[in-house]
Point group: C2
């Protein structure tokens, strides 16, 4: 800890501003870089293989909630990987708890040194097709944006709304512009004239590109591209050529980082991959350390005199193995051990539903083919197929042989809403059911199972904990409680990661053929194409709680 002291050490230092590597005496005083006395310049080959000091890494877009850890526990894991700051959208908790949820995130983050920069969520609720727990209208968002601890307007995912001139959304964008705060974009697949209109109406970034062409198109329209590689979407392989063609227009982000993968690495791994691919060291480090700081105007040091003393020491410029991390001059992590304590938080939640009876999941048999959701391994976008369902005693039942299982969503914000129930192909479960209250973006309880009893028990197990993940196979049950908003745990990353892996293991033991059963489950409620007509769905009562996931 050196906040109040002055300390000078000789390091091999990556000077990003001048694109060089130097041997220098680095003096830290009062949490800031006091002096950098350069002894000599080193060639890249002289510096290879030796520990180096450089600015810390920034994740330019990460939903902390997806780690299933509170911000403080997230910080404890992230600093080990050299992350000194994030730009974070509290969209998930805001969909559950509105402003109170955002306050929780801010408070949890204040207790730890990691510089988590929260924004005002632009799209709560995320969709009109599913019930969320809160609504943040333009005046609520404007009030948030006016706060000094709210740094930007988060991903404008309702791009059709922005293009169509939705008044409430336009007011949010105006508020951000007026306050001079950046506006994040989110426009998967948008191209040409529509992309031009989108990026001229406020958003300056996009993290949804899946092809190089799409990214180049958006760069031409002025967008900064966040190259995303997380637990859900993985676009690094498609987009890394941008690091050569447009390094000044790129940042790295993970978007969603599940607990097991956060344990293993963070932005440090993308840096190592990019350098191994032959990209220029200084370009890659600008993308990882500098561009987000400049774009979002973060109070994060870039290892210049007078900057906050946020920096890291790595083992070498190839592995980028993080040895130590400093934030505001304090050593916060060393060799995989975090050096600060994480205070316990007071959980906050919203869970207004009752245990479901088994009858709630019954669907009358029909002689007509039904629409069936198709889950795809490793993908969060669903497909659709048509199938004649198996009937028994007048009811439509799952067919394990054909992998036609039941999927249900229970509204957790309205105890009187009946569950939405449909059929899904692709999970491959041969026994039992799995359930989750992490269910983007409204975070109702979603479950897939081979029979109504296990389906009910899996859902009710989540309900009993007021949020979490569960796997139920007859009497055999495993639950990961997520008492904070039904999204996060207050336990350590190691504990949550182990429990999360146990649940995925159990789902596979029950026959699930997906690479990541619970990740896939959590995205089955995601609204992919908002224009869907409910009348297409066949199985549902459109006036009851809205069904989910049937969007190609």
């Amino acid at each position: 800890m050196m906040t109040d002291s002055t300390e000078t050490l000789t390091h091999t230092l990556v000077d990003l501003e001048n694109r060089r590597i130097v041997q220098a005496n680095l003096t830290v005083a009062d949490g800031k870089i006091g002096r950098i006395d350069i002894l000599r310049e080193l060639s890249l080959s002289e510096a290879s293989g030796t520990p180096c000091v450089l600015p810390g890494f920034v994740d330019a877009h990460v939903h902390v909630e997806s780690s299933m850890l509170t911000p403080a526990q997230f910080a404890r894991m992230a600093v080990r990987h050299g992350t000194v700051a994030t730009v974070s959208d509290p969209h998930e908790i805001a969909n559950v708890l509105g402003i109170a949820g955002i306050e929780f995130m801010l408070e949890s983050a204040r207790a730890v040194p990691l510089k988590i920069h929260f924004g005002a969520p632009s799209c709560v609720p995320a969709t009109a097709f599913e019930s969320a727990g809160a609504c943040l209208d333009a005046s609520a968002v404007a009030a948030l944006l006016a706060r000094p601890d709210i740094h930007y307007l988060t991903e404008v995912m309702n791009f059709p709304g922005l293009l169509a001139g939705d008044a409430d959304l336009a007011a949010k964008v105006s508020a951000a512009r007026l306050l001079g705060k950046p506006i994040d974009g989110h426009a998967p697949g948008l191209r040409g004239a529509e992309a031009a209109r989108y990026f001229s109406s406020g958003p300056t970034t996009d993290h949804e590109c899946t092809t190089l062409d799409e990214a180049l198109d958006k760069i031409a329209e002025g967008a900064h591209i966040l190259i995303r590689e997380g637990s859900a979407a993985r676009n690094f392989d498609a987009l890394h050529p941008l690091l050569r063609s447009h390094p000044a227009r790129c940042m790295f982000c993970s978007d969603d980082k599940h607990p097991d993968e956060l344990l293993v690495g963070h932005i440090d791994r993308l840096v190592a991959r990019a350098v191994a691919l032959g990209h220029d060291l200084f370009d890659v480090l600008d993308v990882a350390c500098v561009n987000p700081v400049k774009h979002y105007g973060l109070n994060v040091g870039m290892l210049r005199i007078g900057d906050p003393a946020d920096f890291i020491e790595i083992a070498d410029l190839a592995s980028f193995r993080v040895l130590r991390t400093w934030i505001d001059g304090n050593l916060v992590a060393e060799n995989g051990t975090t050096l600060f304590d994480v205070p316990t938080s007071r959980p906050i939640n919203r869970f207004e539903c009752r245990p479901q009876p088994i009858e709630a999941f019954a669907i009358a048999a029909s002689a007509l083919p039904a629409n069936v959701i198709v889950a795809r391994c490793g993908q969060i976008v669903t497909g659709r197929m048509s199938a004649l369902l198996t009937a028994r005693d007048g009811l439509a039942v799952a067919s394990i042989e054909r992998d036609l299982l039941k999927i249900a969503v229970v509204n957790r914000y309205n105890p009187d809403a009946p569950p939405a129930v449909a059929f899904i192909h692709g999970f491959g479960l041969r026994r039992g059911a799995i359930a989750s209250s992490v269910a983007h973006d409204s975070h109702n309880i979603i479950a897939v199972g081979v029979n109504d009893l296990d389906l009910m028990n899996a859902i009710n197990a989540v309900l009993a904990e007021r949020g979490g993940l569960s796997a139920v196979d007859g009497g055999r049950r495993a639950v990961l409680p997520l008492p904070v908003a039904g999204l996060m745990s207050d336990l350590s990353g190691e504990t949550v990661s182990t429990q999360y892996q146990l649940l995925d293991t159990m789902a596979r033991e029950m026959g699930c053929t997906l690479r990541a059963p619970f990740m896939t489950l959590s995205f089955m409620a995601l609204l992919v194409i908002p224009e869907l007509k409910l009348s297409d769905l066949g199985l549902f009562d459109a006036d009851a709680f809205r069904p989910v996931g049937l969007y190609d």
Copy 2:
């Protein structure tokens, strides 16, 4: 801790001997079960949902080395899952270090309460087709078997040798019989008259059954069947019907349990799965807790008066979530936390090889098709194909497009032996190389890569640590050092698990399409059919270091 004290507690207790559940006062005195005062009998439904006390779980066949943890560190993880004892074959370290390796295992295990019962390895070296580090002949094995801390003769995997009357093997079997110590079998696929002869010549168990028919055949010949579900082979789904038809003839085992999976669970998970499948609770617990104790004559308690006080408390009789574990009356784990310290061990190793030059991996081009090893996702048995290799400058080189990569094995017991080099299909790497000194059963260094430079660097990275796993992608490198025999680490299970997962993640980032890249790599040297003719191999000089893995 209650070794020297007397403590009485009221529990719901599973009385396996009398196949009932009772409310009882349990008195532990001096590490033994002092009294059991039964208050009343409970029905299964009365006991459901409440914590229960029962005997601890036994893994009836596990190579501790496969956890990549020393026995003491293995114990620290296993007791959290309710494991109180194992039957363990130190076959892997014996192949590297002979008797000295076995001594290391015994010493490490003595420092912790888990009752690890080691045997005398019957088949060191495992094969004549690859160079191992040691040879245990009949007199060495007989001397081992005479020791009180050596409990059985381990898996007689050279079943053709036993059937053919191999004199050295017959002498080992005789020594075990003379001393009245059990003999473990290992005879994959053996059926009919040959199975009858095998099981009448000494072995009394088999853990290699992959189908129910095979198991029933072997049971008819007198064998006890170990239902195996580990990180490599997974036979539970195929064999669980034996729990109904022949519960008295079954035990559970994992054989190989890698660090990431040991973190998540052990025999506790098999018990929960079996009970969820509807198998009788008492039968399943006999299989998990009692049968191995009786078969191997272990000094492990079965919760009877006078027994060592080895028992566990679980959350309920469906999840089998382990709350607490006692061994010899001492509470050794509670709610996922281990309550004993693990002393540091003095690493022991044998690594006699030099860094390899890049030329060592060159193969001259040929106009003829070459034999190519085929790795299969999730399987340890290799296949074979024939392919015309890509030639460049007179050399045969990898083809990323056709997934024809180089595989090399470097002899770690003879610094003058040239590497064996061949081609392999199925790994899917598009960049870099991965290497491992865990390479069943001789544990030379095995590596797969897309070019000779990365292949050399991956191998030399393992060599520099005198054992371990490595992934190399140009300058980007990750290494998990395994300084104990090139097989194990002295670090905690949590640390080793995270590093192991990082390596698998990196292999996948480099394009590997296998479910478990390093597990698969470690088995590519496994001798599957010993009758193979080396002249079939084509690419190799049969007099040089022996090639591996080319066995269909």
